[in-house]
């Protein structure tokens, strides 16, 4: 029916850029932690040099991340309410405990790793692994509980967030490891085999992430009216540039070719690929959070 809106109000933005940054940082943290457990939890010796970088990054990023939550909320001095007035059906309540437990576990894990108590390190790696998955997985539930926003309200959201967390974590690790070895180590040379095997991990993580994004898009574009509208928004509308070009083409497909085609595989291309991935995943968070609430509800 031909109709024209004469008067309506505008709703305030619920989750803004700070929440996108928060999701991005917890994702990087969880990804780094998971990668550090490859050596110290699962005993893959070749990943040993990145274990320590991983746990330091995981801890530092998870100390910074909640600061963005404090910037976001209206009453930061009331943040202690989160621990006294519990609502167990709210993902934010789950998160407020995870955000305390996970960094504490990271610190203990790091302490045992740096004092080389291998058995205890392994125990805390396996305690930390579910915590790392939950501390990022719960952010997926935060969005999935927004039941009127079609882009958020999908059971795929927690796993989609975890996949992109691992992707961005591996990429960050490649970058930080290369910088550290090149400029701050005694030998000033990078262990190429390690970087290439991390690159291979990164490539497969990107494939999995692309698969999930594809599943989400296919279902969105044939689902109910709101879902179709949001699929149109990210494919052809205001967010299409960020979603298609920055997030998926530059942030996933280009790095995938750089990593998988043997002719391109040099140290420089792996590092370029990981920089692209780190930028791309930031815009993934941005598109999901801000694109999800772009369409007015009523």
């Amino acid at each position: 029916m031909e109709s024209q809106v004469l008067y309506n109000t505008f709703q305030q933005e619920a989750f803004g850029i700070f929440i996108a940054i928060y999701f991005y940082l917890t994702g990087l943290s969880a990804g780094s932690f998971i990668l550090s457990t490859l050596a110290y939890g699962f005993g893959m010796e070749k990943f040993k040099p990145i274990g320590r970088i991983g746990v330091v990054l995981a801890t530092v990023l998870l100390v910074i991340a909640p600061l963005f939550l404090l910037f976001h909320i209206g009453m930061p001095l009331r943040a202690w309410h989160l621990f006294t007035y519990l609502n167990l059906s709210s993902p934010i309540t789950w998160g407020s405990f995870l955000l305390i437990l996970y960094p504490i576990n990271c610190l203990i894990y790091a302490y045992f790793m740096f004092t080389e108590k291998n058995k205890l390190t392994k125990i805390f790696a396996f305690i930390g692994l579910p915590l790392a998955i939950l501390v990022h997985g719960y952010t997926g539930f935060i969005l999935a509980f927004g039941k009127a926003r079609a882009l958020w309200n999908t059971a795929l959201m927690p796993i989609l967030f975890l996949a992109s967390a691992i992707v961005s974590g591996i990429a960050l690790m490649i970058l930080v490891y290369s910088i550290k070895e090149r400029f701050f180590s005694k030998s000033k040379s990078i262990n190429r085999d390690l970087v290439f095997s991390m690159g291979k991990l990164l490539a497969w993580a990107i494939v999995f992430d692309l698969f999930l994004v594809g599943c989400d898009l296919i279902v969105l574009s044939i689902s109910h009216a709101d879902a179709q509208a949001v699929a149109h928004l990210i494919l052809f509308g205001k967010f299409s540039f960020l979603f298609l070009l920055v997030e998926n083409f530059l942030g996933k497909i280009v790095p995938l070719f750089l990593l998988l085609i043997p002719r391109f595989r040099t140290l420089t291309t792996v590092i370029i690929a990981s920089i692209l991935v780190i930028i791309g995943i930031f815009f993934m968070r941005y598109v999901v959070v801000l694109g999800g609430e772009f369409i007015p509800l009523i």
Binding site: M1, Q11, I73, G74, T93, K147, A148, F294
Partner: protein
């Protein structure tokens, strides 16, 4: 309606009587001291069709005070509270302004108070209801298009109106079981969307 003996407040907009005068909006603004730029209630207006076959439609929107409110489910500090009579309100001393209720509400009726920095919304003027009065918008409506009362009392005006008219709620598919009902609700009015202001 699980416990039929309990009081369950509800609101009904008879859109056949609504003339889009916005008296309810003004009454709400002054009763609840709602700041500029935010609204607890508003009237969405659309125009349908092509001249001469055209008409304006009005949709007064307040909080639905849902039976199964998602905002209460997700509030991390239990600041969203559903009273036994069905009114959903926010404890202003407990709210931390995290905006999760705003993100999850399917009706977009919540806002952050620009100075208090906490979430607020329509709660059917519970301070007036507790004093035995009707909400401000109900009294302000010049055509008597708004009914308010106990839906579980078969003798109340609203339960008779709900029983004898075809009623509808906004977005029933959300499973929140809204308690603000409409007679003569127009689907185009609900679904018409204006582009978000940049």
């Amino acid at each position: 309606m699980k416990k039929s003996s309990n009081k369950r407040l509800a609101m009904l907009f008879d859109l056949r009587k609504c003339i889009g005068c916005m008296s309810c909006v003004i009454a709400c603004k002054s009763e609840n001291d709602v700041p500029l730029g935010v609204w607890r209630s508003w009237v969405k207006k659309i125009e349908k069709g092509r001249f001469p076959d055209t008409r304006e439609y009005f949709l007064p929107i307040v909080c639905n005070n849902c039976e199964n409110p998602i905002c209460v489910t997700v509030c991390p500090v239990n600041a969203g509270i559903k009273r036994p009579d069905g009114i959903v309100y926010i404890d202003p001393h407990r709210c931390i302004g995290c905006r999760y209720c705003m993100a999850s509400c399917p009706y977009g009726v919540r806002y952050i108070h620009p100075e208090k920095k906490i979430a607020e919304k329509c709660f059917w003027c519970h301070h007036r209801v507790d004093a035995g009065l009707k909400p401000a918008c109900v009294l302000a409506c010049p055509t008597g298009a708004i009914l308010f009362g106990d839906r579980n009392d078969p003798e109340s005006e609203i339960s008779k109106a709900i029983a004898t008219n075809a009623v509808q709620v906004i977005k029933p598919e959300m499973g929140t079981s809204p308690q603000t009902f409409y007679i003569d609700l127009d689907i185009d009015t609900v679904e018409a969307k204006k582009e978000k202001k940049e």
